[in-house]
Every structure is written in C-alpha cells, then in structure tokens.
C-alpha cells in the first residue's frame, strides 16, 4: 500500500507540473495550438514531469524508510497534495477567467485568485475563528495555514500598491507590482509542494 501511495503521490506531482506548464504555455500564447508546440517544448515539459516523478518518488521513499527506522509513518499526504495543488492549477487557468484587456482587469482577476486561495485554505483548515487553530481532523495544519496566510497577505500588499499605481497612471510600476503579486502566488504553490 505504501508503494502504491508513494507512486500515486509522485504521479500526481508530475501530472500537476505538466498541466501547470501547459496552462502557462497556453495562457501566455493564446493563439497557440497543440500542433504548433515545438518538439523541444514537448521534451522540456514531459522531461520535467519525469524528473518531478523521480524526485518525488525518491524523496517520499527515503522519508518512509527513515520514518520506518524511527517507527513512524513518514508518508506523504497524497490526497491533500492532489486537492491543494490541483486547486492552484485550477486557479492558474482551468476555470474560465474574466477577460483581461487592461491592467485593472488583471488586478481584479488576481484579487479573485487570492480570494479563492484564501477560501480554499479556510475550507481545508476548518478553523472556527480567524487566526484560530485548524480543526484537529483538518486536511492542513495551523502552521501551514499561517504560512499560506502570510504569503497571501504579501501578495495583497503588492496588489494594493499596483492598484494605487494604476489609479495614479503609473502603468509600468503597476505592471511590475502585479508581477510580484503573481510571483508570491507561485510561492504559495511552492510551499504546498514542499509540504507534500
């Protein structure tokens, strides 16, 4: 069962990476079709997925072996990884995003992404009061919730600054700040991947 679970976790990590790469590729190039994707890009994406699988499999196998010596479990929470990382992929473009013809549109869509990330984290933590501890049977622990909350706050600071710059007709500054906000959302994904 452990080996199946480990393999499933590694496959999930690889699949999420591959889907994420495709979402990013098609989001950045709206005119792109599957037939137009170059061979080198295919190799990079699929090769990256394979490496993610091997890395994840080895990491979890080692952790299980080490935990076994200590008499602990040490397994990855595959299902949690699937739910949370899958949700971020959905945020990245699987859902129908609003049109983003202007910087104000991008600000609003990014705010919606942050709101959704916060709502899903709240759902997974099941805390009763704001900043309160996660429920004992929750899918994430309080420490992870706090990490995610901190990063989402950071993204919101950039987003607020970007919107203020936009209101002041400083488009270039707003664009830079928006990129930072998006980068922080990527960090949230990395935190969750690390915890998997």
């Amino acid at each position: 069962m452990n080996r199946v679970d480990t393999t499933l976790g590694a496959v999930t990590a690889a699949a999420i990476l591959i889907v994420g790469q495709f979402v990013a590729l098609f989001t950045e190039n709206p005119e792109l079709t599957v037939a137009d994707i170059k061979q080198a890009t295919w190799i990079a994406i699929v090769g990256g997925g394979l490496l993610a699988f091997l890395k994840d499999f080895n990491a979890v196998s080692f952790r299980r072996a080490a935990a076994g010596v200590r008499g602990a479990n040490g397994g990855a929470n595959t299902f949690l990884a699937f739910i949370v990382l899958g949700s971020l992929v959905a945020l990245g473009g699987c859902a129908s995003r609003p049109s983003v013809d202007s910087l104000a549109d991008v600000v609003a869509a990014t705010a919606a992404d942050i709101e959704t990330a916060a709502q899903s984290t709240e759902r997974l933590c099941a805390n009763v009061v704001p900043s309160g501890p996660c429920a004992s049977n929750a899918l994430i622990d309080t420490e992870l919730r706090d990490e995610i909350k901190g990063e989402l706050q950071r993204a919101l600071v950039y987003l607020n600054d970007a919107n203020r710059a936009l209101a002041a007709d400083q488009a270039a500054r707003a664009d830079g700040l928006l990129n930072r906000a998006t980068a922080v959302l990527t960090v949230v994904e990395a935190i969750l991947r690390e915890r998997e």
Partner: protein
Amino acid sequence: MDANTILKIIQGLNALQGLLADVGINYDEVKAAQDAAEAEGREFDANDAQVFIDQAQSAVDRL
C-alpha cells in the same frame, strides 16, 4: 483503507467541490463588474478593481 482515510477522502472531495464553486463565483463577480462598467460606457478601472482587492483582504483576514 481505514475509517480515518475514508473520512479524509470525503473531506477532500468536499473541499474540492467547494473550491470549484468558489473559483466560478469569484470570477463571475469580476465578469459582472466588467460588464456593468461596459454597459455604463466606461472602462473598468482601479476603483472597480479595488472592490475585489477588499473582498480578497476579507477572505485572507478570515483565515
């Protein structure tokens, strides 16, 4: 598979279902605001976007 694992799976599915609903609702709200601005013959601007930043801030504060 023990009862705890099954419980976690049910919780996870429930969370996923809720998440998908949240994504749709949040994006729909942005689209509705964009459409409203267009109907009024103006561009969706920073003031409109601020509403969504405030909503996101409330959601993060609840965490």
